[in-house]
Symmetry: C2
Subunit: 320 residues, 2 copies
Amino acid sequence: MINQQAVFEYLQSLQSKIVEAIELVDGKNFLQDSWQRPEGGGGTSCMLENGNVFERAGIGFSHVIGNKLPPAASVAHPEAAGRPWEAMGVSLVFHPRNPYIPTVHMNVRFFVAKATKSTEEISSPHMDETNTGTATNKDEDIWWFGGGMDLTPYYGFEEDCVHFHRTNKEALSPFGNDYYTQFKQACDEYFYLKHRKEPRGIGGVFFDDFHALGFEQSFAMLKAVGDAFLNAYLPIAQRRKDTPYGEIERDFQAYRRGRYVEFNLVFDRGTLFGLQSNGRTESILLSMPPIVKWRYDWKPNAGSPEAKLYTDFLIDKDWV
Amino acid sequence: MINQQAVFEYLQSLQSKIVEAIELVDGKNFLQDSWQRPEGGGGTSCMLENGNVFERAGIGFSHVIGNKLPPAASVAHPEAAGRPWEAMGVSLVFHPRNPYIPTVHMNVRFFVAKATKSTEEISSPHMDETNTGTATNKDEDIWWFGGGMDLTPYYGFEEDCVHFHRTNKEALSPFGNDYYTQFKQACDEYFYLKHRKEPRGIGGVFFDDFHALGFEQSFAMLKAVGDAFLNAYLPIAQRRKDTPYGEIERDFQAYRRGRYVEFNLVFDRGTLFGLQSNGRTESILLSMPPIVKWRYDWKPNAGSPEAKLYTDFLIDKDWV
């Protein structure tokens, strides 16, 4: 049996916990903006703009309900098309001001396409003669968890990358030996800018369509990832937030943020699905950086600190 | 008979003519960067960055050759799939520094999917038994022109919008009475941000898959549009380039440029096709603005000059 209410409550409390922790670090409070979705559901977008540590930090909770799942929404589960469905999640992107603090993204989500057969229908099998038992039972919910987190430095530090990956590996290890390796690889594959032949950052973990451990343990794994976020990121932000920087570093940060925009608007499935399905634009685009620059065919000087990002960090590497 | 060489020469000369005119206005020269495409063809990207009038102005010429047209590349002409093809065009986006000068986009292009039947094959119909005559003749080239231009003001002036549209209307009028009206409507429909429920700017003209007048007259129409560009835009740039502005206007310009990024990366077919088909990234993204800002759920104060853009310019209007 799945317990949607428990997931709902966990996600709301996770958002509150992260908001509180970030406010303590930053010294400025989030704007908390709740909204309703006309078609069903709603959410709360929390934004901290122009803070002391964070130039633009957004964390959204949303709970979306629909009567009929569009076929395009579930490639992995075509049998879920047409069913009533619910999706809920917490998603965050934090863009710090100091270029020595990396940008971070985290997302945890739960999806369920509900059973369409009532008890009465199950006892009258003649009412659904096409259900011969070879396909998925219509009296079973189809559900899965997804999520992960990934780090995007401007000026990289090996110890930060190791800490971020190690925290994720430790969070996942109670659930199976392979999950970290598997989810790290999925992360590297997903957060890749094909048109630049560049990874977005130094990766992390990413999983989707996860139900392998049954509801209770799969949910526990989701919670382990969500709960690991502050441990994975805050020590890095704390460690780098007072590092002095100047115009060169800010300029490089703004230039690199252009890659973040390119990834999210051209490739990110969540962003594109949201924008194309009449989602709440300002909540979807809370991932956009505050200030971004583009310039033609720019490359860092060989051996410069900016070049080091490409040669030492945006590479295929086992960080742990 | 089509004359690809004449189109090629026209497009190259159009690029040179616009580069020279803009250099005179700006006082700074373009960087001219020629490149080859490994799969066939190449181009020249001209960029003016950090100029006196233009903060980032890009104009690209490209000529791309392929052996087999991918089916997805030609929705309007499925019969062209698999044929050898050529595409050539000039595309420009100019982002001025002064927020009182609008951003402008212009594009003129020619596409041809070549006849695949040689003279010998035509005289030996048994060599192609599937060609029963009901489909397009394989001994005929499939070709079309496309293009247009559109204007994106930050602070609008009615006289500028009227001038831009009137110049386009006059350029098209020798070719048929309806073309301006038809192409203006196509422009309004194409340059629309669905997720914002906002037009990108005040429109202009847009056409695609155009061959209705035969090669000579269709080409003449393309030339009329290309040649109208400097007349349509330069008087506006000249008129506004010395208007004083401050931080508020620069800030609003950077915020509104975010819409340009959102349109080009989420909706623009040329940009997405280029990025997905291993095009030259820096040439495709010459349309990106130099400095862009995003902020959460921002709205201008009612009655402000910034609000006027939304109420008086980003509307469905007959400007001529």
